[in-house]
C-alpha cells in the first residue's frame, strides 16, 4: 500500500519544495509508493472543506508529514498543530522549518518595528496601509517548527539536499529508521588544505578565491585561510550529500551556515567570534555579526535589541 504524504509550507520561499523535484530519478521510485494527500504547492486543498463549510481547519490523515518554513503567524501555528495531529511522522524540511531560516532574521526586531517598517515607514507604502481583514495575526517572532510542535526528523539546508529528502522518504517507506544527521562540522568533509589561518583583514565574498579551475579541491587552500569568513567550523556537516564535499566549497564559496549549528546549545556567533579573535583577527570587521553567524538559525538565537 502506498504511504500517504502531506506537505505544508509556512514562511518559506518554496525552494525546499523544488528540492523534492530535484531528487531526480529516485523520485520516480518514491512517487510510486506515495499518495500525496495534501500539498498546497501543487494541490488546491481546501482547509475548511470544499465549500468552506467547516469552522476548523482540516488536513487529511497521513503517514508522513513534511513542513517547510518557520512559523510566522497564528495560521501557521494552527496548521502545524493540525499537521502534527494528522501525521504519524513529522519532518522539518529545510532550514526555515528547522531553525527559522532567512525569515527568522526578522527576529532581530520587534513585531511592531517590522510592521512599521513594512507597512508604514517605507517610502513606497501608503500611510496606514496596514491590512486588517482576513489576515492571520503575526506571532511575536518566527519560530522553528519544533518550538511549536514535536518533530521527528530534521532535514536542514537552504535549500535542503535532494539526497537527504530521498533518503528520508525511502527509509520511511522501507520501514527503516530515519538517517541520522552528521555530528561533525562542515570542516570534516571539507577537502581543502590547511596551512596557517588568515590574519589581518577579511576579504569580501565577491573577491575570487585562489584556486586552479579543474584541479582537485584538495589543492585549494582553506577559504578561511584565504581570508574569507567561512562558517564551516560551527556548521553541521552533511550538505555534500553522496558527493561528500560541502556544497558551497564545491562552488569555491565559503560556508554560510545553512545546515545550522552543531548542537542545540551551540551558539555559532560566540563560537566563531571566539575562534576568529583567537587567531588575531579584529572582531570589529565582521559586519552585522548576529545576522551573519545566525543567518539560518535565527529562530531561537536572534532577539530584538533591548531598549532602556
Amino acid at each position: 500500500m502506498a504511504a500517504r504524504l502531506a506537505e505544508e509550507w509556512f514562511a518559506i520561499c518554496g525552494g525546499c519544495e523544488v528540492t523534492i523535484l530535484d531528487i531526480g530519478e529516485p523520485l520516480l521510485d518514491v512517487l510510486k509508493q506515495v499518495e500525496i494527500v495534501h500539498m498546497p504547492v501543487i494541490m488546491d486543498h481546501k482547509l475548511f472543506g470544499q465549500t468552506g463549510e467547516n469552522a476548523e481547519m482540516e488536513i487529511p490523515a497521513a503517514d508522513v508529514g513534511l513542513i517547510s518554513g518557520g512559523i510566522r503567524n497564528e495560521e501557521h501555528k494552527k496548521l502545524a498543530l493540525e499537521m502534527r495531529k494528522k501525521c504519524k511522522i513529522l519532518i522539518s524540511l529545510g532550514s526555515c522549518a528547522c531553525f527559522g531560516g532567512i525569515p527568522a532574521l526578522a527576529n532581530q526586531f520587534s513585531t511592531q518595528e517590522l510592521v512599521d517598517k513594512v507597512y508604514r515607514d517605507s517610502k513606497s507604502t501608503e500611510k496606514d496601509g496596514l491590512p486588517h481583514e482576513q489576515i492571520p495575526e503575526l506571532t511575536d517572532r518566527v519560530y522553528a517548527v519544533h518550538e511549536v510542535v514535536p518533530v521527528d526528523a530534521y532535514l536542514p539546508g537552504c535549500p535542503t539536499t535532494p539526497d537527504m529528502v530521498a533518503n528520508a522518504l525511502l527509509s520511511i517507506l522501507e520501514g527503516k529508521p530515519l538517517p541520522a544527521l552528521s555530528s561533525k562540522s562542515v570542516c570534516d568533509e571539507c577537502p581543502t588544505k590547511r596551512e596557517k589561518k588568515a590574519v589581518g583583514t577579511l576579504k569580501r565574498r565577491l573577491e575570487a578565491p585562489d584556486f586552479k579551475p579543474g584541479a582537485p579541491l584538495t589543492e585549494m587552500r582553506c577559504l578561511m585561510e584565504q581570508g574569507y569568513l567561512c562558517l564551516g567550523p560551527a556548521t553541521r556537516g552533511g550538505c555534500g550529500g553522496h558527493d561528500g564535499v560541502p556544497r558551497c566549497i564545491r562552488a569555491y564559496m565559503p560556508c554560510e551556515g545553512c545546515f545550522g549549528p552543531l548542537s542545540e546549545k551551540a551558539n555559532p556567533m560566540v563560537d566563531m567570534m571566539g575562534a576568529l579573535s583567537s587567531i588575531g583577527l579584529d572582531p570589529k570587521q565582521i559586519p552585522d555579526r548576529a545576522a551573519t553567524f545566525n543567518r539560518f538559525a535565527g529562530a531561537g538565537r536572534l532577539r530584538p535589541a533591548p531598549r532602556r
Binding site: 519544533h146 560566540v270 567570534m273 571566539g274 579573535s277 583567537s278 572582531p283 555579526r289 531561537g300 533591548p306
Partner: protein
C-alpha cells in the same frame, strides 16, 4: 537530535533600584597572577565587597568566550576576568589572546541585550593585592549602577 532555541527574548526585564542590590559577579582569575593577587589581598586583609565568586583557571587565555556569555545570559550580573599584565603571562601570551577575545565579547554583549560594562578584563599581578581589591570594588560599583542582570531570575 533537537535544535531547541536558547532563552526566549522576553527575559529582558526592568532594573530595580540599584542601592539595595548586591551583585553576583563571576570572577575568572588566572592561577599565576590574579588568583595570587587575590590571595595577597586576603593575606593583607584588604576588605572588598562579597560580590565575586571566583573560578580559578590556569590562564586567562583558557577562558572560552562562551563561558562569559553563558554566565551573563544565565543571570550573572557581571563577569570579571583577570590575567597577568602583558608580558607577564606564565604561558607567554595567553593574556593577550584573552584581550583579543574580550574585544569580541564586548561586541557580542550588545547582541544579547547586555551592557558591555557588565564584562571587564583586568590585569592583576601576584604582587597587586590592593589593586585586586580595588578592581573588585570598582567593578562591583559599576555593576551596581547598571542594576541586576536582565537575565537574573530570582
Amino acid at each position: 537530535m533537537g535544535i531547541s532555541p536558547v532563552q526566549s527574548v522576553s527575559a529582558v526585564a526592568e532594573a530595580p533600584p540599584a542601592e539595595t542590590f548586591q551583585p553576583l559577579i563571576i570572577a575568572l582569575c588566572c592561577n599565576w597572577c590574579s588568583y595570587a593577587g587575590a590571595d595577597l589581598a586576603g593575606v593583607s586583609r584588604i576588605q572588598y565587597p562579597p560580590s565575586i565568586r571566583m573560578v580559578r583557571v590556569m590562564c586567562s587565555g583558557m577562558v572560552h568566550p562562551n563561558l562569559v556569555i553563558e554566565a551573563l545570559t544565565k543571570g550573572a550580573d557581571g563577569v570579571l576576568m583577570c590575567g597577568c599584565h602583558p608580558g607577564d603571562c606564565h604561558y607567554q601570551e595567553g593574556n593577550l589572546k584573552a584581550e583579543k577575545r574580550a574585544e569580541a565579547i564586548r561586541l557580542m554583549l550588545s547582541d544579547f541585550g547586555l551592557e558591555e560594562e557588565r564584562f571587564r578584563l583586568e590585569w592583576v599581578s601576584a604582587a597587586e593585592g590592593p589593586r585586586f581589591a580595588q578592581v573588585v570594588r570598582d567593578f562591583t560599583e559599576q555593576v551596581q549602577k547598571l542594576g541586576p542582570s536582565p537575565y537574573r531570575t530570582q
